[in-house]
């Protein structure tokens, strides 16, 4: 039996008295691409952030490749090294060039030599199509370029899975495609990906599974053709209708 890439067991998260996650059970298998969709405030970003413990779950367990990350004795920094994360707001380090952004954690965390880190960094920046922008500061790059540098930064750590938290939501519409193309390529290479997104086209074409969340619970979980194409629950139908026909 192979271990699950991610397993969530009865996950609860409170912010104060507000219960944001109300008992989530879910697995992601190695090499799977799972898209989480749902209205804002449904808890999907919180769910994602619980996987690498940027949010500490109030109750329940999180396993990453069989290791219980909610165990207080686990070395969370070591777990996070294997989990790449991409944020809505990119969160590049503004005082470093694109190249330095991709090198710094390799050097400080993986203790790679400067030369090795630079080789890996350039490879990954080339791979996401911003190899020509190595010496630019984040402030000099477009949103789409920044987000691709952020993806390269995560990939340079050789993660075994990637978390994407609404990676295209802060982008101008014409820049969304570049980022999605990179993500699609990653998926084709077999990267395990958990993606919170509003891009229904991407979810439908790339995801192995789509999870619909609402009000802190998983309402529907299945193949994209089923969840997006033929939703069983009224809440899913209503949400998809609002997303796909925003002007009605």
């Amino acid at each position: 039996m192979t271990v699950h890439a991610i397993e969530l067991r009865d996950l609860h998260k409170y912010f104060g008295k507000n219960e944001v996650l109300k008992g989530i059970d879910m697995t992601v298998e190695q090499g799977q691409v799972v898209c989480v969709i749902g209205p804002s405030g449904s808890g999907k970003s919180t769910l994602l952030r619980c996987v690498n413990l940027l949010e500490a779950p109030t109750r329940g367990k999180v396993f990453v490749e069989g290791v219980e990350v909610t165990d207080p004795d686990v070395d969370i920094d070591a777990v996070r090294r294997r989990i790449g994360m991409v944020f809505q707001q990119f969160n590049l380090f503004p005082h470093m060039t694109a190249l330095q952004n991709v090198m710094i954690a390799q050097q400080r965390v993986l203790k790679r030599s400067k030369r090795e880190a630079e080789v890996v960094a350039r490879d990954n920046l080339d791979k996401v199509g911003v190899g020509a922008k190595c010496d630019s500061l984040p402030g000099q790059l477009s949103g789409g370029q920044q987000q691709r540098v952020a993806i390269a930064r995560a990939l340079a750590m050789n993660p075994s899975l990637m978390l994407f938290d609404e990676p295209t939501s802060a982008l101008d519409p014409e820049l969304v495609g570049d980022v999605l193309t990179v993500m699609r390529k990653l998926a084709e290479e077999g990267m395990t990906m958990l993606v919170v997104t509003h891009e229904m086209g991407f979810a439908r074409q790339v995801a192995d599974r789509v999870v619909f969340m609402d009000g802190g619970v998983i309402v529907e979980d299945g193949a994209p053709a089923q969840v997006i194409g033929d939703p069983r629950h009224e809440r899913t139908r209503a949400f998809l209708h609002r997303v796909l026909h925003p002007e009605e």
Partner: protein
């Protein structure tokens, strides 16, 4: 509804706002000119020049004004600045620490040293050898002056750093942690460098404040080669019974402080554009 305020009726005998402003401005000019005329007529210019700007007394200040006094002012200021920079950063990190007692210690320190007159701190430093027999501040008078400026400056610099650290977005720490950096590593590599960049303009102002406060070294009872600008001017003024050396010292301060002030506001402007 009955009584409308009178001003609500336009075009009446009352002055319009624009006319009123004109009258007010004319009055301000008249007052200013009257004050200037009074000063010119009643001030004893010859005596003032004699006491505050006597060229041959001013000449006596050279070259020691620069080779000793300004040099020492800079030594006290730079030393105190480095001290306050390091201690201030430490205090700011303590102030934001998860460990509650560290927060308390930082708050108490900051409140005390911002609340007391700097002069009082300097006076206390002169009593340190009495309080702690056998203890001497290293580097003599330089050490004492730097200690006083550093202790006071650190309290202000800590608040400057705290603002800077808090202005670094939370996403920066999250990105660093998600790459596997420890909390300390994330602070050192990602947060603190950004915070320091952000606080360069207020820190320049802090430097100017320290430069001025370095005049308090006067109260350490310094002499000879340790004197800085204020003490130097004061000693020379007593010697010649003439205030010119104090004016000379003042101009020397301004030569340093005004460009630094401009530098700070330029840096502030540049930061604004980069955002």
């Amino acid at each position: 509804m009955a009584d409308q305020p009178k001003t609500a009726e336009p075009g009446r005998a009352r002055l319009s706002p624009r006319k009123k402003q004109q009258v007010s401005r004319t009055i301000q000019y008249v007052v200013l000119i009257a004050a200037l005329v009074a000063v010119v007529l009643y001030a004893d210019w010859a005596s003032l020049a004699q006491n505050f700007a006597k060229p041959d007394v001013a000449r006596q200040a050279l070259p020691d004004l620069f080779t000793i006094a300004l040099r020492n002012t800079i030594i006290y200021t730079v030393g105190g600045f480095v001290f306050s920079f390091v201690l201030g950063l430490l205090l700011a990190l303590m102030r934001l620490s998860q460990v509650r007692p560290y927060r308390w210690i930082a708050v108490v320190y900051i409140e005390i040293f911002r609340g007391l007159p700097a002069l009082l701190i300097f006076l206390m430093i002169t009593f340190l050898p009495l309080a702690l027999p056998g203890f001497a501040v290293p580097f003599g008078t330089y050490g004492q002056g730097i200690l006083g400026l550093g202790l006071v400056g650190a309290a202000y610099q800590a608040e400057v750093f705290r603002a800077g650290l808090q202005a670094v977005p939370k996403g920066q720490t999250e990105a660093a942690r998600s790459l596997g950096m420890s909390a300390t590593r994330a602070q050192v590599t990602v947060v603190i460098p950004q915070a320091i960049r952000m606080v360069i303009p207020p820190t320049t102002n802090q430097f100017v404040a320290l430069l001025k406060d370095s005049s308090l070294v006067l109260f350490l009872g310094v002499s000879g080669e340790y004197v800085e600008l204020a003490k130097f001017g004061n000693d020379l003024a007593s010697q010649y019974a003439n205030a010119t050396p104090i004016m000379v010292a003042g101009v020397t301060y301004l030569i340093v402080t005004i460009p630094l002030g401009y530098l700070a506001s330029r840096l502030e402007g540049r930061k604004g554009r980069n955002r």
